[in-house]
């Protein structure tokens, strides 16, 4: 079956890196005046040469986002269901080697979390787990979806990659979107950061969006973990992946996130530091390449940075996030996956959004809108 792997193998990391780092101001200027930009233009926009044009990029990015999405910022919250994990990932607090109390929420605990999130106003929810297939596998996900689907308008998932058929079983139960970040597209580095567990299979992860596309999921999220490898080259691969997916699975909607490595229990210093300025460059470059893709900003970022950057191309934001299972109501003191940076409550974020002339959007989907025919029997 054709997949992104075929495309991926045609590209060489070092060659792309060379292309990006040798871009000239004239290449950036050419990219800036175009209305439809291609991947070569994107290389120019994420190149060191584009730094001098950041203001221009930000202006265009803001204007394009307003035109396509209006003055709206969609709000969501992650709900951590479990911190059990069979993998070793060098950058994550849930890593198998870390001695921390493991917890998977039971139905009662989930109810309490749901109630807490609902009282804050959330209607879009992102379910997160580590990778522990025996306890937190397909059957667990099915149960959770059945339990909570009527409590939220939109349910996304950020869990281990699943098989196509498993996705097919979850979608009619109300699963709307799946986020799966490649972490890095640098194959060797990927192996170094994922020494043990199922996640060490680079290509199984790389082909996850293909399985999602074939299963017919409504939306999928792409991204890399910034800090593992050269962000410019990794961003190019995300853009390449997105382009392939948009052409192949044209019914699917896409979003991109840009998580920067955060401190966590068991610590690893980022190999590559990305400055705030560079993150703005990356966000606006994605927008200039693709006016329609959703761009999402998490609470990993600092308060002052979030206050400004959300107006430059972002379409959705998390707020009040807890990154530990039960963090909202059940077990607020348990160990988190990583430290969040913006600790403000959802109502404070809403006030911020309004103060900048934007409308906070709590609900922009309804599970009832899809798969109407099979909905009743699925419940």
């Amino acid at each position: 079956m054709p997949s992104f792997k075929d495309t991926f193998l045609k590209y060489d990391w070092n060659q792309i890196k060379h292309d990006i780092y040798t871009k000239q101001p004239a290449d950036v200027e050419r990219a800036l005046v175009k209305t439809h930009r291609n991947l070569e233009d994107f290389k120019a926009l994420i190149s060191p040469a584009a730094d001098a044009y950041l203001e221009d990029m930000a202006r265009q990015s803001k204007a394009l986002t307003l035109q396509r999405f209006g003055n709206n910022i969609q709000l969501f919250a992650p709900m951590y269901l479990s911190n059990e994990c069979q993998n070793i990932c060098t950058y994550c607090g849930f890593s198998l080697g870390n001695k921390l109390p493991r917890k998977t929420l039971n139905p009662n605990e989930i109810d309490r979390e749901v109630a807490a999130l609902q009282s804050m106003g959330f209607k879009h929810i992102l379910l997160v787990t580590g990778e522990a297939n025996k306890t937190v596998g397909l059957e667990y996900f099915k149960k959770v979806l059945r339990q909570i689907r009527s409590d939220f308008a939109h349910i996304s998932m950020e869990v281990q990659p699943l098989d196509e058929d498993e996705y097919r079983q979850l979608i009619p139960l109300g699963l709307h979107a799946v986020l799966v970040y490649q972490e890095t597209y640098h194959q060797k580095d990927y192996a170094r950061h994922h020494p043990k567990g199922k996640k060490s299979n680079f290509f199984y992860r790389l082909e996850t969006p293909d399985r999602l596309g074939r299963a017919g999921v409504h939306k999928m999220g792409l991204g890399v973990l910034i800090g593992l490898e050269d962000w410019r080259v990794d961003s190019f691969y995300v853009a390449l992946h997105l382009k392939y997916l948009e052409q192949t699975y044209w019914r699917t909607k896409y979003s991109i996130s840009f998580p920067r490595l955060r401190p966590f229990s068991g610590g690893l210093d980022p190999k590559v530091e990305m400055t705030d300025r560079q993150l703005v460059q990356q966000i606006t470059a994605y927008r200039l390449l693709n006016p329609d893709v959703e761009l999402s900003l998490s609470t990993r970022e600092k308060t002052s940075f979030r206050d400004h950057v959300f107006q430059l191309g972002i379409t959705s934001m998390s707020a009040g996030s807890k990154t530990n299972p039960g963090g909202y109501a059940t077990a607020p003191e348990s160990l988190e996956q990583f430290e969040i940076s913006d600790e403000r409550s959802p109502s404070e974020i809403v006030a911020l959004i309004k103060s900048k002339g934007y409308e906070p959007v709590w609900k922009d989907w309804d599970v009832a809108l899809e798969h109407g025919e099979i909905r009743t029997e699925a419940i």
């Binding site: 044209w250 922009d364 309804d366 009832a368 809108l369 798969h371 109407g372 025919e373």
Partner: protein, 254 residues
């Protein structure tokens, strides 16, 4: 200015407003008022159907509510969503939108026709959003839609009447009102559509993301009225061929 008749309702205003992109409920309310519109589309996916005090619905207020099915990808999803909307919002008016392509939101003609037929049978007043396809418009008319809503250009593009040649054919052939939807980015585009003979226009982005949405809403109101007035006053014909100085047919009278 003549009134506009769609199904069993009469409208004084020929401007329909989209509500998706306003930066606040208040700005939306004020823009609705300034535009003089009597019909506002609201995306079902944005409405909180459990709650009675949805800020969007409140902003629409007393004006007619036109729920849309934005987000659905198939006819069966659209029918399901329509029934949900009818129950929750107590209206059988529906803007039928089926766009399986989430990037440009281009409407699926096959699924739209299928859904329209079923929805009409179920008693809905169906207003389908479609490409500017004259044949599709006639097919939709045959299944009983209340109007057709062909696009001027891709949604949100503000590019104006890129499909003008096809809109002219649609307007000429149509026995139901023609509402030009999507792409209208400036009052002049709206006026041009009305001069062409469109029965109404639907505008969202151009008003909602203007620097001053309320004033822009007023500008659109005036443009739509001016365009309609010009149409009703019968614009002088534009001559494409030069009149020949020595007639080619004078020999027949010789």
């Amino acid at each position: 200015m003549e009134n506009l008749q769609i199904a069993d309702r009469t409208f004084h205003s020929r401007l329909i407003l989209g509500s998706g992109k306003f930066s606040s409920a208040k700005l939306m309310r004020d823009s609705i008022q300034a535009s003089g519109t009597e019909l506002v589309t609201v995306a079902l996916k944005r409405v909180d159907m459990q709650s009675q005090n949805d800020s969007m619905l409140e902003a629409v207020g007393e004006v007619g509510l036109l729920p849309n099915t934005s987000g659905v990808r198939t006819a069966s999803e659209a029918v399901f969503a329509a029934e949900l909307a009818r129950e929750a919002l107590q209206t059988n008016w529906l803007k039928l939108e089926i766009h399986p392509d989430p990037k440009y939101l281009l409407p699926d003609p096959v699924e739209t026709l299928k859904a329209a037929e079923e929805l009409v049978k179920k008693g809905f007043i169906v207003m389908p959003y479609i490409h500017a396809d004259p044949v599709l418009c006639k097919r939709l008319e045959e299944v009983g839609v209340a109007c057709v809503m062909p696009l001027g250009a891709p949604i949100g593009s503000n590019k104006g009447l890129k499909t003008a040649d096809f809109l002219e054919i649609i307007i000429e052939q149509s026995q139901v009102p023609v509402v030009v939807d999507a792409g209208i980015g400036a009052p002049s585009h709206a006026a041009a559509a009305m001069e062409m003979g469109a029965d109404a226009v639907l505008v969202n982005t151009a008003i909602a993301v203007a620097q001053d949405p309320v004033n822009m809403a007023l500008a659109f109101k005036l443009a739509v009225e001016a365009g309609r007035m010009a149409f009703e006053s019968k614009l002088g014909a534009v001559s494409h061929a030069a009149s020949a100085s020595s007639p080619l047919t004078s020999f027949v009278d010789a």
